[in-house]
Chain length 371, copies 2
């Protein structure tokens, strides 16, 4: 059921536009996927996500496995009906949170043993259970369990983590194949830290396993921008052209431009949602800090050209007041704006590719920056 | 511009239905007014308020005077445009919060001196400044500055507070009259604790001052239900029939039934919004505590007969999960349901009065209770 088709390629860069078909409808790429950690993109509804232009969202396997858990989600035949989002969902494997959030994570021959960050209960996440969980979540796109290294990781550390990741990818593929159910797609994940040679090996051997799509994990974990781009640039060309390529957990609008240039198709990041809750608004002029006294009486919206609900209805002065007063509505109005900004920004990248005007789009993007 | 007309009267009780005309449109009574303390009914938008059936909301003078303050609100010519709510607004006088929330409140010959609960800055609230603030807030209905007594207050304490309240009502009327601007209405407030004889005197002398409408303050402050009803029942019949009668800060659905029976037209209370944020949902069957394990896998909405956005789209299981995970969406979905419940409940009281079926409505209300 899962399909991907490249519909346009930039003649100036490696950027391309495509369409992914999933069990819950199409996704036009390049695409930005808002993060819905616990079955909710924090503070906003599915209708607001659609109004922001979102086509696909992320769910976090680790979080949803612990809360609300299998019995609850299964009662609704998966995450879509549980959270009232009837469009595509991609779930991560749970690996990233197990290593970053859970307590006492320990790699065993079977997988990773860990303790819940909520109640300390003991769990074992294996390639097979990760696929099983993503199965009952009914994700349209599942991710292979991987081990993400911190920055900096030595060549040896990164190699070891990628070897484990590759072994787990094999087992995930096996578990997925044995279900015989193809309405869920499965993506493999390239690791290898910031070592381009490791990333190349990782991409090549993963490509041989023939996944529905491929992701680069372990980027934007603190490395300098040029190293991130070198690393991504080493791996991306070795992944099959006819498969979607997803850069996990990245990033700022300027990073998205550079990565799309290198051939990336899919992105997710907590930046728009988290920063919204911290009072940071993304605009074409740059990032606005809503607490700035400059906006105290400002009757203008965050971005006059923006068509989001927030910009159509509210002033900087009101948003500043709500945020300073810690009104719940502040987080929501900021989130709507930022999600709209990211989704539309990547949508504009797509349109620039379709029109083969990527370089002039990029030039205009930097010219518009003021803040 | 302000007008009130009684359009139906119950033959079984003192209940009546009416229509208030304000500068920002009509309000059908009896009416429940959601509380928008700081220029936002916590967590929901003006569009959601309208969808919940709200016709008029409350703003808090004390809060808005301190934050965002006159310069900001005046830049928007009042609260309506600042918060994007273009329907009627009633503001309180600031008195209640000065006595309950501010620091070092002290009655002086001019009014009340107090320190801000936010930054400790010194302020003086007088009958004249209260009217002035409510003027730049552009409230459709302003309230006279009053002194609310705690429960229990002795006869002597309550008498003293009502004397001050009456003196301030005179001065508020003077300040209002001197503006010569009649697009804002002014309501007088009856005090007198739980002493029916004091309430009667208070109502009578206040009625002689000829306000646009009248309120009972200082109820639902901890007194037993029967004393509240005795007190309200003593004062309400002495207020002019042709003016709207507003019971401030009350209350539970069952209290609203009893007070409408006594002739009350308007209500406000933080119960639906505050309890929503504490995981309490009001339904025809009674109050649901969303954390109850009973709802863990429940696919039903809080109230199957309810037409609010929350009940049309979400399950108890999902609402329980969001609330336990402290997701921001939880507070909003709960608030939408509760505001819808209160507004519609009072709307149903109105319809029962119009149909002259108040007693059977009341009977059915208690029969439906299960929880």
């Amino acid at each position: 059921m899962f399909k991907f088709k490249v519909v346009a390629e930039s003649t100036q860069t490696r950027a391309r536009a495509g369409v992914i078909q999933t069990a819950h409808g199409p996704v036009e790429t390049p695409v930005f996927m808002p993060v819905g950690t616990l079955g909710s993109v924090k503070s906003i509804t599915p209708e607001e996500l659609v109004a922001c232009g979102a086509q696909i969202i992320l769910g976090n396997t680790y979080h949803l496995y612990l809360r609300p858990g299998r019995d609850v989600i299964s009662r609704f035949h998966g995450l879509h009906r549980f959270m009232n989002w009837h469009h595509p969902i991609l779930t991560d494997s749970g690996g990233f949170q197990v290593f970053s959030l859970a307590k006492l994570a320990r790699i065993t021959p079977e997988g990773v043993a860990f303790q819940s960050h909520i109640d300390g209960s003991s769990h074992l996440l294996t390639p097979e259970t990760s696929i099983e969980i993503q199965g009952w979540l009914d994700a349209d796109i599942m991710m292979c369990l991987d081990q993400c290294t911190a920055y900096p990781a030595s060549f040896e550390e990164a190699r070891k983590a990628d070897d484990i990741t590759f072994e787990w990818a094999r087992r995930c593929k096996g578990a997925w194949t044995s279900t015989g159910d193809e309405h869920q797609a499965l993506f493999g994940i390239v690791q290898g830290g910031v070592h381009p040679e490791l990333r190349r090996t990782s991409a090549q051997r993963l490509a041989d396993l023939d996944f529905s799509g491929y992701a680069l994990g372990g980027l934007s974990v603190g490395e300098p921008l040029d190293r991130m781009l070198d690393t991504a640039g080493a791996a991306l060309p070795l992944l099959p052209r006819e498969k979607p390529k997803y850069i996990m957990g990245v990033g700022r609008p300027e990073d998205l431009i550079d990565l799309v240039c290198l051939g990336a198709d899919m992105f997710d990041c907590v930046l728009p949602t988290r920063n919204a809750r911290n009072g940071q608004l993304f605009t074409a002029r740059g990032t606005i800090t809503i607490t700035n006294a400059w906006y105290r009486q400002d009757p203008d919206p965050p971005d006059k050209a923006c068509t989001c609900y927030t910009c159509r209805n509210y002033s900087l002065a009101y948003l500043r007041h709500l945020f300073l007063a810690r009104e719940l509505l502040a987080y929501r109005l900021n989130t709507i704006h930022n999600v709209h900004y990211f989704v539309h920004f990547v949508r504009q990248l797509r349109e620039a590719i379709m029109a083969d005007e990527f370089e002039s789009f990029k030039k205009r993007f930097y010219e518009n920056r003021e803040i």
